[in-house]
């Protein structure tokens, strides 16, 4: 259908058609941000304290998300939503999707604590953190920020962080921005499509 009309329409009309009608079947549930951010690249440490880079998570879909473990409200809500999406995937591609949970609170989130928190959401959730320099480099790369409030009398402090979830395809290209109002089924549908058209 679209090809047929291709020859009969002016370029301006064609463009309009391409943007609306023909692309209807190309719609994602999440926001398409292809090309708007650089490829996945980072230097961080995993929960075992080993240095890792994007190469350790290559050739798979990666969902990048920032948070901290002293967050019992919004961070686990998002992680549970993403983990449920992964469980919704056909078994054959489930292990080709990873959720990279990057703690921007390395002072409190080294080692065991991060592993325990992230691991509870399933094997596909990877807890990562890094030095301030490493975290700054990564957050700047994706134009997000984080910060610390002043500590209270008990030494407790709040951390503000981006609520964005970035999806990268198996080539490491940024593709989607996942909003928190999507259902696990919708996210799973997007992941499946991403897996098919990388």
């Amino acid at each position: 259908m679209c090809l047929l009309r291709f020859f009969m329409l002016s370029p301006a009309l064609l463009l309009l058609l391409l943007l609306s009608g023909c692309q209807q079947s190309e719609q994602w549930h999440a926001k398409d941000i292809s090309g708007l951010m650089p490829k996945l690249r980072f230097e961080l440490s995993n929960a075992q304290g080993e240095s890792v880079t994007e190469a350790d998570y290559a050739a798979q879909i990666n969902l990048l998300f920032f948070g901290f473990t002293n967050c019992p409200d919004i961070c686990p809500t998002t992680l549970a939503q993403l983990a449920a999406a992964v469980r919704n995937l056909p078994e054959s591609i489930r292990d080709q999707v990873h959720i990279l949970f990057v703690s921007v609170d390395p002072q409190r989130d080294e080692g065991g604590r991060l592993a325990e928190y992230a691991g509870a959401f399933g094997e596909q959730v990877v807890g990562l953190t890094g030095t301030q320099d490493q975290l700054q480099a990564l957050t700047r790369r994706y134009r997000v920020t984080y910060g610390y409030d002043e500590a209270d009398a008990n030494g407790y402090y709040n951390v503000s962080h981006s609520s964005a979830v970035f999806a990268f395809d198996a080539d490491g290209q940024v593709r989607l921005l996942i909003r928190d109002d999507l259902t696990p089924a919708q996210i799973a549908e997007d992941m499946q499509r991403l897996q098919q058209n990388t």
Binding site: T69, N70, P72, D73, P76, R113, A120, N154, S162, S163
Partner: protein, 153 residues
């Protein structure tokens, strides 16, 4: 005959009316329901949630909370602004007008339960003390049982 029926009907209506008034105004109380703690793995803080219905005739303010099962409890609110999410202390408490309800839900207001003194398990019942101030600034405490629930239903 007709008069008697009419009188009977009127009497019934009045009695019904009185009964209606009695049932709607009698339970003068603060009602808490759906009290739960969503279990998060690890030794970090837990989030407590509930609904609060103010069925009294005056405004009340939830000022603070505590629990024998946690070192400290804070009143918190998660806010997402310009794609940035942050937690804030509700330092002035939360005021509920008469007849109004508020909800502590994930992604909004929550009890920030710090340092569980014993490991929690799904199904546990944990007492939480909620302190309210009324119009006369008198503080009233209510202890309510919060059920530990899994993160995802």
């Amino acid at each position: 005959m007709k008069k008697i029926t009419l009188a009977l009907l009127t009497a019934l209506l009045i009695a019904g009316g009185v009964l209606w008034i009695w049932t709607t105004t009698a339970p003068e109380a603060l009602v808490i329901d759906q009290a739960r703690i969503r279990l998060v793995a690890g030794s970090g803080p837990q989030g407590g949630y509930f609904s609060l219905h103010n069925r009294t005739s005056t405004a009340v303010t939830l000022q603070s909370a505590s629990s024998p099962a946690f070192a400290r409890v804070m009143l918190h609110q998660t806010r997402i602004r310009d794609g940035q999410s942050e937690m804030q202390s509700l330092q002035d408490g939360v005021t509920v007008a008469p007849g109004e309800s508020i909800e502590f839900v994930p992604g909004g207001m929550h009890l920030m339960l710090m340092q569980a003194l014993q490991p929690l398990q799904v199904g546990d019942s944990v007492p939480v003390v909620l302190e309210f101030a009324g119009q006369d600034q008198q503080v009233q405490s209510f202890t309510h049982q919060f059920v530990v629930v899994p993160l995802t239903p």
